[in-house]
Subunit: 523 residues, 2 copies
Amino acid sequence: MTFPALLDLPEWKRFVLAAQTCAPRADGLDLIEAPGLVLDTSGQRHSADLLAAGEALLEARDFATQRARLLAGDEVNVTEHRAAWHTVLRAPRGPEDVLSARERVDAFVRRADSERRWRHIVHVGIGGSDWGVRLAVTAFGYAGTWRDVRFVANIDGHAIEGGLAGLDPRETLVVLVSKSFTTAETLQNGARAREWLKAAGLDPAAHMVAVTAQPERARAWGIADTHIFRLWDWVGGRFSIWSAVSLTTALSVGSDVLAGLRMGAAAMDEHFAQAPLAANAPVRMALAGIVNRSVLGQGSLNIAPYDSRLANLVPYVQQLDMESLGKSVDVAGRPVGVPTGPAVWGMPGTDAQHTFFQWMHQGSDGAPVDFILCRQADHHWPTHHRQLLANCLAQREALMRGKTLDEARAECRAEGLGAAAVEALAPHRVHPGGRPNHLIVLPRLSPYSLGALLALYEHKVFTQGLIWGIDPFDQWGVEYGKVLAKGIIAELGAGVAASAETAPPAATPHDASTHHWIEALSS
Amino acid sequence: MTFPALLDLPEWKRFVLAAQTCAPRADGLDLIEAPGLVLDTSGQRHSADLLAAGEALLEARDFATQRARLLAGDEVNVTEHRAAWHTVLRAPRGPEDVLSARERVDAFVRRADSERRWRHIVHVGIGGSDWGVRLAVTAFGYAGTWRDVRFVANIDGHAIEGGLAGLDPRETLVVLVSKSFTTAETLQNGARAREWLKAAGLDPAAHMVAVTAQPERARAWGIADTHIFRLWDWVGGRFSIWSAVSLTTALSVGSDVLAGLRMGAAAMDEHFAQAPLAANAPVRMALAGIVNRSVLGQGSLNIAPYDSRLANLVPYVQQLDMESLGKSVDVAGRPVGVPTGPAVWGMPGTDAQHTFFQWMHQGSDGAPVDFILCRQADHHWPTHHRQLLANCLAQREALMRGKTLDEARAECRAEGLGAAAVEALAPHRVHPGGRPNHLIVLPRLSPYSLGALLALYEHKVFTQGLIWGIDPFDQWGVEYGKVLAKGIIAELGAGVAASAETAPPAATPHDASTHHWIEALSS
């Protein structure tokens, strides 16, 4: 394999040096206009040198070619030998099968709407089959919708119990989403829903639909042909919001929301493909993230949407980013050699301010923040919105500017404290400042802007993967736990943990603690 | 001040050395029985030396005395000169005013129940006035309750809009919670709720109650005397679940849930006060956390409850831990000198496995995990529960054990891959292993066990604060942003950002970006 290791690239050394010699805060204004949003990168390390070094680094990674390959549906997922062609799912023109799959979803929704059917939707899916739909439904149905949507993801039986509680089975449609149609959680929860329908004297086939890349398995499970919606092998779970997985979204908040999401994402794809690197929003976000993670050593990235409707953006981006970049080996199988994908976490502001912003301001490390806000609200209380915007700008300003010991002393004195009290208290009011951030401003929370925002994060992740040399489209690390779980399920059922004596030849005996708990928790 | 700096303590040097020379995994079984739960610390760095060094370190910090002072209601919040006496709120016997405040809540709930009043509760509070109630209501009311509870925290107008949507005002009780009764979010949202009640022709005073330490302010705002429930100055927001803040919990899931939570927490207080250090659950958790953060340099702590009813445990512990320990200056005003409180984040398993466990297994850093599970479920599907337990144990085992390159190669060969394919793929299936964790096992999710669990985290945080020398009960870092927000709210209203020319003498002009957005977002 000729793919060069990151640490061997002279362009990497130049990039690190340029980042290290940047001022923590330039105090300039650095706005990037992109479809559906404006990205303000003024809060990141910046210099002309650093930008030039970033461009050279991308060049060394053959960025233009790789980007073209991604968008053309080439085999960019190298460890799994397939494409990652989610962009075609939102393209205005696409292959016939993509368009007809889209039309089938729309037709199903049109018919359900015209018949006023399905008062309740139980959406059964986990991870990528869950977060995108949750995000869209919360974003655009926050004040309630005609159809009540419940989400059931966890294998925990309380999840499906709570998901079905109080629903009228005659009015309920169960949407099962599993690309492989082997996901343990989804099939178990689906089986419970099927029993529940049967117990009500209903035909489950009439009340259940499936979204999957394995239609035969769905059929064998009992889903009617006309109720099976197609996925493709080349659609990763964390990119599946653009596929028929969003059937529930359309049933809940409307097919026009889906159309708007697609348009916004497609416009961002175009921007990503065309805009010069310095004015390319995903590229600039990616470069800033690499500086924060691999040069400054920041271990996490905080997502702070100042819009309560975007609560589910946090787990959505968390999955997108961490499942893509939570790897430390490059495509050639070598250690990357620098810290890669950060822990992504967060909470809508202003809730976050009352939960962990203390730590953001004065903790040992803090975290880079992506602030997100909507210029215009969809309610009628301007005072609320002004306070919301002001809080976002103020927290950001405080994180950037900081507060010196002298400023803290002056503040204490202005409150009338005596000299000893000033000296005792002032150090506790110091803020180091210089914390990096992005500010992303949407004109309003339209499907178009949200679609663009999601594509922005997708392409940021792709670009960072390319620089680190990681395959952002595989997820080998999730297999191991699944395999171990299968063995432990059997042991819990049998009441015997595999020990050095009882383990089948292929299995390694458990550590003492795992062994103990298998025995103790056996039924 | 005679409080010694951490780095000056010989006991600290000994502790670091002992931690550094520990094996990553002892393969022993290290269980600590505590009220309401068992703590398994087998997954942490451990040696007899390290434990002895930890005990000596606590001794050097005068742990026994400080713990006694906490529990006796002494002035342990040194920067704010007050007690942090939340433990008395759950004590079986307490001062007269604490018991009578508790009885007032119970009486209010008894009366509401006997009259079948208040079909809808709108709980308006943020941060500590929100998470604890949300946690208890989700934990024990996950399958629906007779009273529908809505939570409104964010200043974002969409929050109160969604919170009131579809409710019948005649049947709605609004619970306003603000210790200071000056919290901007809560008063603004309360004002919207008041307008909504008035618009329905109702008397707001009959439909609103307040929980506050400032009854005069609540009275002036329009709350009836009989509807004001008392807090005390010495109850921090993040410890207020033990106070009348839980009125909403009692209305939703019953006063006996509150009583159970208190009993469990009180039992954990007793354990914390009495158990020898080596068998003291909060102490052992604290020491392990200090090793992970300050010796191994782990930047974050993941909370993984394997129970979907505990989804809100994550933000609850996040606030408790990060607002308490997100500081880098000790009580004497000196830099602590080592990394302090971690970023706390997480998600219930198995959802987490499909969201970010890829990163936990193969990312550059990973994170220590607190796994939490309930031995017994409260539903009737043993297969679900067995799968849930197995997944928890399996993920934990995978994180501890790891998988070597040779094991990965063998796995690839067993799947029939050729030599070249084995060499290409195997590195992507390696897991470093040795990731630290706790496993906390509750017999079932009873109020008693949950109360004990919350007190376990509280005392862990207290102990870590003492070792680092941090005041865990203040939160000076949240003030600065509030002050800046006030100025920006005014500027947004006036349409003019303070610049070097227009800023009032006390204010510093904004950076270019903040200035730009104030102008651009002005109404």
